[in-house]
């Protein structure tokens, strides 16, 4: 028994060490965001801040003008998340509850979509967006962000509906309710955790997306947070204390959403990958 306890203590320490190593960039970000400009540019870099300077978090708004980027990110991510829910909810329900011609093909297309890479279709989507005259508008991001969130979202709704007894739908149908009514009045409240999860999933994916955002938007006042912050790195005079404070600021919304639904989200992501 003694040996067993020692072993557990040892493995706990190993786990702590690994998690600590993985948290390195998080520590660096928080550390640098409270340093003064002078401390950031001392050599070698310090590992414990000499003073805690929270004023960086206020100064970033004057220096980096993050408000327009914040507004863009909020509009694009919220729209994508709402659209994802509105589109995947009926699709997932229909795929779970009805047997119709073309069901298999649609299921395979969705599975295929899970594996699609943005890079390979970037040029073609660029042409599609260009032809539709949507270049340099929020739609140029909302459309691909929603499409890329759909496969996982439809899959998750499908799984949630499958876990709900079909007798509920059948008895409502016998009472004369249409499928639309059953879906929105009866099924939607039951699978609310699933709906919240895909909303957060689509929101985080859209909020963090870089490739499309960096390609389809050219006006500075429409650019999203990742693109804006990426551009500041390229700019030579960037001061890292402002950069890291901006990153903390830009990450807090997604992190809070993630923590709120992490249980469901992890479950969904994991089973999604394991099964399909």
């Amino acid at each position: 028994m003694r040996k067993g306890i020692l072993k557990r203590v040892f493995f706990t320490n190993v786990l702590f060490a690994i998690v600590g190593l993985l948290s390195f960039p998080i520590y660096i970000t928080l550390l640098t965001s409270v340093k003064s400009g002078a401390e950031v540019y001392t050599m070698p870099a310090t590992w414990v801040p000499q003073e805690l300077l929270f004023s960086n978090y206020f100064e970033i708004f004057q220096i980096l003008n993050l408000f327009s980027a914040l507004k863009s990110s909020l509009i694009v991510a919220t729209s994508s998340a709402i659209l994802t829910v509105l589109i995947s909810l009926p699709a997932g329900y229909a795929l779970a509850r009805f047997d119709f011609k073309g069901r298999q093909i649609i299921l395979y297309t969705i599975l295929g979509g899970l594996m699609f890479s943005p890079v390979v279709v970037l040029i073609s989507i660029y042409q599609v967006i260009f032809k539709l005259g949507l270049m340099n508008t929020y739609f140029a991001l909302i459309i691909p962000h929603t499409a890329f969130a759909l496969p996982f979202s439809i899959w998750l709704i499908l799984a949630f509906v499958n876990a709900t007894p079909i007798e509920i739908d059948e008895s409502a149908n016998l009472d004369g309710a249409s499928s639309t009514r059953v879906l929105f009045k009866i099924i939607t409240p039951i699978i609310m955790p699933g709906i919240v999860t895909i909303f957060v999933y689509a929101y985080i994916q859209s909020w963090n997306e870089f490739l499309f955002a960096n390609t389809f938007i050219s006006s500075d006042n429409l650019k999203t947070l990742p693109v804006r912050l990426y551009e500041f790195v390229g700019y030579r005079g960037i001061e890292w204390q402002y950069m890291t404070a901006s990153i903390v600021f830009a990450t807090i919304p997604t992190l809070l959403l993630f923590l709120a639904v992490q249980k469901w989200l992890i479950k969904g992501l994991v089973s999604g990958a394991v099964r399909g």
Binding site: T12, S117, L150, E170, L211, M243
Partner: protein, 292 residues
């Protein structure tokens, strides 16, 4: 399955999803093929068949072999260590150690943070003069260290691979952990009763159960790493001297720096073939037919 409802209801319910998926996944597949065989202008418009010129141009490009080698080094360099580390962490998280719930959340948090942000932080950490990493090595070695991580060709690839590994671990660990936890408890207990040691238990009982999950996680990662753009783009932009240029970064430059959409289409199509081949292999391996 529900019956007696209007036959067109499911089609109406699926129509918006089908439309959007066709627009963003379906049309592009044909568009890439068409573009790759066509003369194109600066806006990417197709202007007639051009006799495989895009492909001839692509295969005559000395960069093609450079990015092919880099892409293989990058993909395997991230995939293999990330899988091994993740398996190790998953086993530790499965051991019922104190604080495992908190640990699980911490391991998964990077998934919710933009890869661009994490890569920016690493770019700063690797900075030759002011970076905390050189400072850390300086403390350990007790002398000033000024390694130019991202400006030395051989070290630049190593540095981006390291960041790739840390960003691949969260998702892989959770998939493997779910695989480990789905093993029926009775089987593990039976193994204990028969006197199997921890190592033997893993080899003979847990690993066979975990294998299908491992195959799927590996293939999903293979696709994701092969196509990964933001890490390299943010940290090195493909440099120095093309030492970290891979399939996505090179493709991006052909299209949006050179505006050679025909050649980019040809490269995309080759990437698409690689992608589809791996996907077919993946679907066959994981036996998804049974799920539905």
């Amino acid at each position: 399955m529900l019956a007696g409802q209007k036959y067109y209801w499911p089609y109406l319910a699926i129509a918006p999803a089908a439309f959007l998926l066709a627009l963003v996944f379906g049309v592009p597949v044909f568009q890439v093929l068409l573009t790759s065989f066509s003369k194109t202008n600066n806006a990417g418009d197709v202007e007639g068949f051009n006799n495989f010129e895009n492909y001839t141009k692509l295969f005559a490009d000395p960069m093609l072999s450079v990015i092919s080698v880099n892409t293989v080094v990058w993909t395997l360099g991230v995939l293999v260590p990330a899988t091994i580390f993740s398996l190790f962490i998953a086993i530790l998280l499965d051991m019922n150690l104190p604080g495992k719930t908190v640990m699980r959340i911490i391991v998964f948090i990077p998934w919710a943070i933009s890869f661009v942000f994490v890569s920016i932080i690493w770019r700063y950490s690797f900075d030759q003069v002011f970076g905390p990493l050189n400072s850390l090595f300086g403390i350990i070695l007790n002398r000033p260290v000024e390694v130019a991580w991202l400006a030395t060709p051989s070290l630049a690839m190593l540095s981006v691979i390291w960041v790739g590994i840390t960003l691949t671990i969260p998702f892989t660990t959770l998939v493997l952990l779910a695989g480990l936890q789905s093993i029926p408890q009775e089987i593990i207990e039976a193994g204990w009763c028969d006197g199997a040691s921890g190592t033997k238990l893993f080899h003979k009982i847990k690993f066979p159960f975990l294998k299908p999950v491992l195959v799927v996680a590996t293939l999903v990662n293979l696709l994701a790493i092969f196509n990964s753009f933001p890490i390299i783009w943010t940290m090195t932009g493909g440099g120095p001297a093309n030492s970290t240029d891979t399939f996505p970064t090179y493709l991006y430059r052909i299209a949006f720096t050179d505006y050679d959409f025909g050649k980019a289409g040809a490269l995309s199509f080759i990437g698409l073939i690689v992608l589809v081949s791996i996907s077919i292999f993946y679907v066959k391996k994981s036996g998804t037919q049974e799920t539905f």
